[in-house]
């Protein structure tokens, strides 16, 4: 046991999981019963009771107490430790390492680590932030002493920017890898390039002289599977061979993706944004941003995208970038040890992820600010800006699409729009809102089914079935057969004379010699057939996306949502265009659209529709418009995009309260305290706090009278993740707060490493050891793990204030006092439960356990 424990120590600090420990238990190894029992993860609440005696006290006094306590908070937000206790605070804030080394010399870092957190727990932002400030203060003080310390302090200050640079480089390169490989593998479904196996279809015919105007992408070097296998490209048999190969490749890619995810990194599935949102708000999911998740997500994302499923790479790219951020954090002491600082880095990494996904650096920063981040100080804004810049630059220099752009669907038209067109744009906004609400409802219902029924037991079969259906339905229709990004790019495109695709099959008149602006033209037969094909595509995308999002492969929903919107927009746009052409004498048209003028751009409608649908699903506004505007590079279209995004948000909000990410967070029951919603109920802290009226007493520790055995009994009998420390049970005056994990670790270490500590040793949390009669066993001082500045509110504090405190400071728990005596405790989960209860939801379904 000792040897194993030793190894555990030396190998990797702060990364021991309950799994390892319970594995130890399973094998009958000697693990102390208090050490990481199955209940270690379970911190449903703290203890209870003991306020019967206070109930009779007069309410007048209570009212006086409230303003005092409230002021106390506002001060504490800015001023970290109390001035008089800086010395002590330092030792405790530094993770308790300083003074514990004196006791246990050979143990430099406490092993699972005092000041770290269990899996599926919430971090304490206040504690982490004050730890960082202490660390910073220490480095600044030392820097005056020697040159080396000065260099150390400079490098420490610089490390944040260096980290951003590395994140940008790494996520940009990975995005380039994903783009190039996904493009190649998508085309592999249709054929192969004989000139060089690594070229995709477009690059295969890149320098060919034999491409024709009608068949832009046909060249002799590109061989479809029918050409290779049965050496013909005409006829029904060739079609069947191609069809068969298409489905086969799709199934193979999907199967590889889901089995890699299942074997190596189950956390790599899904889009990742709901989880990253939760992690950024302070939740801990160990391994979610680890090396294996990164590798598997990158590799399987390519497979998933190229299997032709209705999913995109944008959401997973955010996860990939966050993994990069988390892994690179390990290089820097400043970020490795501090969960709050690390979350600042992850916010910036999320920005870099969106920056490379859409080629929109500013949009990425705003996305991080609006959608994912929880705590976003100005410093993080600048760092995100820098990371997004570096990432975009890296991707640009890789030039994955060979068009000097960062995305496939870049738009380049600048035709003006007329005020009247706001009406169809708002219609598109309404459509987007409806789609968003419909998608969220049905997708959540389906995911709930997957979560609760037998369906969830067969992830591989589910993926294969959905892939088979998608591939079989997709091949006959050319708009579903091509990759969704290409489809969007074609829909965004404004038809010029140079385009020979079906969608641009207008009847041309060659009476104008201008090369540039084309007047509105009557649609040709190709446009009509494209229209009904697109309508079929729309229906199929709508249905299949609902079942695809949430499967156990990496899947984002930006691209499918945008595709739905772009198709709807294009249909409406072409409709408007034809109406304007045939009925230009109508009152609505004749003022601004004379015959032979170019009034309506269907590509713009597609763009607005895409923005509306994306907005309806994710409920983004500002970042969405900025992303779309960075895609188009035209300032003219900001107002249409804003109108559509706003309308779709209104419509979607009216039909369903939350966006897709929040809905998934709620479905999984992550402890996420939404910062956007107001809490407007008139309840008081005492209505929420534990213990409730009929519960047993609140479990407390006394500062200098409990023995090691007493404390161990308390630990093993309860599952609470922390205990308040009081002066004595009679007075119940609060001294501080101690975390279960820290307590377990410290006692375990003391028993092993410190001479003479036995079950009857007294544990004390005071500055000096209590007077002891002679011949008693040595005492154990645990002041270093005691949080001397726990948050307290009085029992009559309104809950809206308490919720605000939890939200803004990122608290984990808050103690409730009455006349200065400890009465109870409110944890983050109690707050979440209470909010759910007030919103008439089932409080037990909300919480993570």
């Amino acid at each position: 046991m000792a040897m194993w424990q030793e190894k555990e120590h030396t190998k990797r600090p702060c990364w021991v999981q309950p799994t390892v420990l319970s594995a130890g238990l399973k094998l009958g190894r000697l693990v102390s019963p208090v050490f990481g029992g199955p209940g270690a993860m379970d911190n449903r609440g703290f203890q209870q009771g003991c306020f019967n005696s206070f109930q009779s006290s007069s309410s007048d006094e209570d009212l006086v107490d409230i303003p005092g306590t409230a002021m106390n908070f506002s001060l504490r937000d800015d001023v970290p430790p109390l001035d008089g206790e800086i010395e002590e605070d330092k030792s405790y804030n530094g993770g308790g390492i300083g003074s514990s080394t004196r006791m246990m010399d050979f143990l430099e870092e406490p092993i699972p680590g005092v000041g770290t957190y269990d899996d599926f727990n919430t971090i304490d932002w206040v504690r982490e932030k004050s730890r960082d400030r202490d660390r910073h203060r220490e480095i600044t003080n030392k820097s005056k002493e020697s040159t080396w310390a000065l260099i150390h302090s400079v490098s420490d200050a610089f490390s944040g920017w260096l980290l951003m640079l590395l994140i940008g480089l790494l996520s940009g390169s990975l995005a380039g890898l994903i783009d190039i490989s996904a493009h190649w593998m998508t085309d592999l479904k249709e054929g192969i390039c004989t000139k060089g196996l690594w070229f995709n279809h477009e690059h295969c015919c890149w320098d060919s002289d034999q491409v024709t105007f009608e068949n832009k992408d046909k060249c002799p070097k590109w061989n479809s599977w029918s050409q290779l296998l049965i050496s013909t490209e005409e006829g029904a048999f060739a079609y069947i061979v191609n069809y068969f190969m298409y489905v086969l490749w799709a199934l193979l890619f999907a199967f590889l993706a889901v089995s890699l995810v299942k074997v190596f990194a189950p956390y790599a599935c899904g889009s990742g944004i709901p989880e990253i949102k939760t992690i950024l708000s302070g939740f801990i999911i160990r391994g979610y941003l680890g090396k294996w998740t990164l590798i598997i997500k990158t590799i399987t994302l390519v497979l998933a995208v190229s299997s032709g499923l209705s999913l995109g790479k944008e959401g997973p790219l955010v996860h990939v970038a966050c993994c990069c951020g988390n892994i690179l954090c390990h290089c820097f002491n400043k970020y490795r040890k501090n969960e709050a600082k690390r979350r600042e880095v992850l916010s910036a990494a999320a920005a870099a992820g969106v920056s490379v996904a859409f080629g929109a650096p500013i949009g990425g920063v705003l996305f991080s600010l609006e959608e994912v981040s929880y705590y976003f100080p100005l410093k993080t804004l600048w760092r995100s800006f820098f990371a997004a810049l570096v990432a975009a630059f890296t991707l640009r220099s890789i030039n994955p699409f060979g068009n000097s752009r960062l995305v496939l669907f870049y738009v380049e038209f600048h035709t003006p729009w007329h005020l009247f067109e706001l009406v169809p744009f708002i219609l598109l906004g309404i459509f987007g809102g409806l789609w968003g609400a419909l998608f969220i409802r049905t997708n959540i219902a389906w995911c709930r089914k997957r979560k609760t029924t037998q369906l969830g037991k067969y992830p591989v079969i589910e993926v294969l079935v959905v892939t088979a259906i998608t591939a079989i339905l997709a091949f006959p229709n050319e708009y579903t057969r091509m990759s969704t990004s290409e489809l969007i790019s074609e829909l965004f495109n404004d038809c010029g004379l140079l385009d020979s695709s079906k969608l641009c099959d207008y009847e041309n008149y060659f009476n104008s010699s201008k090369g540039g602006d084309l007047p509105d033209r009557p649609a040709g037969a190709g446009v009509y057939s494209a229209m009904w094909q697109l309508a079929l595509t729309l229906i199929m995308k709508i249905v299949i996306t609902i079942f695809t999002f949430g499967m156990k492969i990496p899947s984002g929903l930006f691209i499918p949502s945008m595709a739905v919107g772009a198709i709807a927009g294009r249909l409406l746009g072409v409709g408007m265009e034809q109406m304007a052409y045939y009925h230009h004498d109508w009152a609505i048209f004749n003022s601004w659209c004379s015959q032979g003028a170019d009034c309506i751009t269907p590509g713009l409608y597609a763009m607005v529709g895409a923005a509306a649908c994306l907005g309806g699903v994710t409920r983004m506004t500002v970042s969405l418009v900025v992303i779309m505007f960075e895609l188009t590079g035209g300032l003219e279209y900001i107002v249409p995009l804003m109108a559509a995004a706003m309308t779709s948000k209104w419509v979607a909000d009216a039909l369903g309260r939350e966006g897709i990410y929040d809905a998934h967070i709620r479905l999984n029951g992550y402890p996420f305290l939404e910062a956007k919603e107001e809490f407007a109920h008139k309840t008081l802290a005492m209505d929420v706090m534990k213990p409730r009226r009929n519960d047993p007493l609140l479990t407390v520790l006394t500062q200098d009278s409990m023995t090691v055995e007493d404390v161990e009994t308390v630990i093993s009998e309860t599952t609470y993740s922390g205990f308040p420390v009081v002066v004595s049970r009679e007075s119940q005056r609060l001294v501080g707060f101690v975390l279960r994990r820290d307590l377990i670790i410290s006692i375990e270490n003391a028993r092993k490493k410190q001479d003479g500590v036995v079950s009857t040793s007294i544990i004390y949390f005071t500055e000096h050891s209590p007077p002891m009669p002679p011949y008693t066993p040595p005492t154990l001082k645990l002041r270093n793990i005691l949080d001397l500045s726990p948050f307290t509110v009085t029992d009559l504090t309104p809950m809206e204030i308490v919720v605000d405190i939890f939200r803004k400071l990122g608290l984990r728990q808050c103690l409730v006092t009455h006349n200065g005596r400890l009465l109870g405790i409110i944890t983050k989960k109690d707050v979440l439960k209470h909010i759910a209860q007030m919103a008439n939801q089932d409080p037990d379904s909300i919480l993570f356990n």
């Binding site: 790494l170 320098d207 105007f213 074997v263 189950p266 956390y267 999984n668």
Partner: protein, 198 residues
Amino acid sequence: MATPWGGLPRLGASLSLSCLALAVLLLVRTAAAAKNSEDVRCKCICPPYKDIPGHIYNRNISQKDCDCLHVVELMSVREPDIEAYCLRCECKYEERSSVTIKVTIIIYLSILGLLLLYMVYLTLVEPILKRRLFGHSQLIQSDDDVGDHQPFANAHDVLARSRSRANVLNKVEYAQQRWKLQVQEQRKSVFDRHVVLS
């Protein structure tokens, strides 16, 4: 780093990752420098005009020569129409790096291949090897794992054994087993209990 054992491998792993990123970037730069002739093109698209059909022309030509007169074959066009025809053509100069594409695809395929091999090893080969090495008695011992026929099911076992020996080589095995346990736990929470990511 605070602890030599815990910090260094982690630092090494992260540094190697960032080195990879830098290497990719450098590669791209050098690839761009050693531009081979087939990596630039001037592409002119000429729409149909009167009775002349539409055409797409690709030429390896320097950027300054990328215009209709240098690229498009104007032999078939009658003299008075040349100007009108050329006005409608759109010429674009484009660059790509075929080396980047080639290297990226090779890197991707080799990583994918390695992962697949490892996956096959873990799911098919290793259980057979373990059964042959440790015999039947081992399997009975880990009673509660028998029902679990997923890969890594014997991780608890090996973890327990590797604890007793402590040499450098075992550390690798130990790390591997611990990783397996983590994956097993993740798999349980995602696929069996459905607590995360559903």
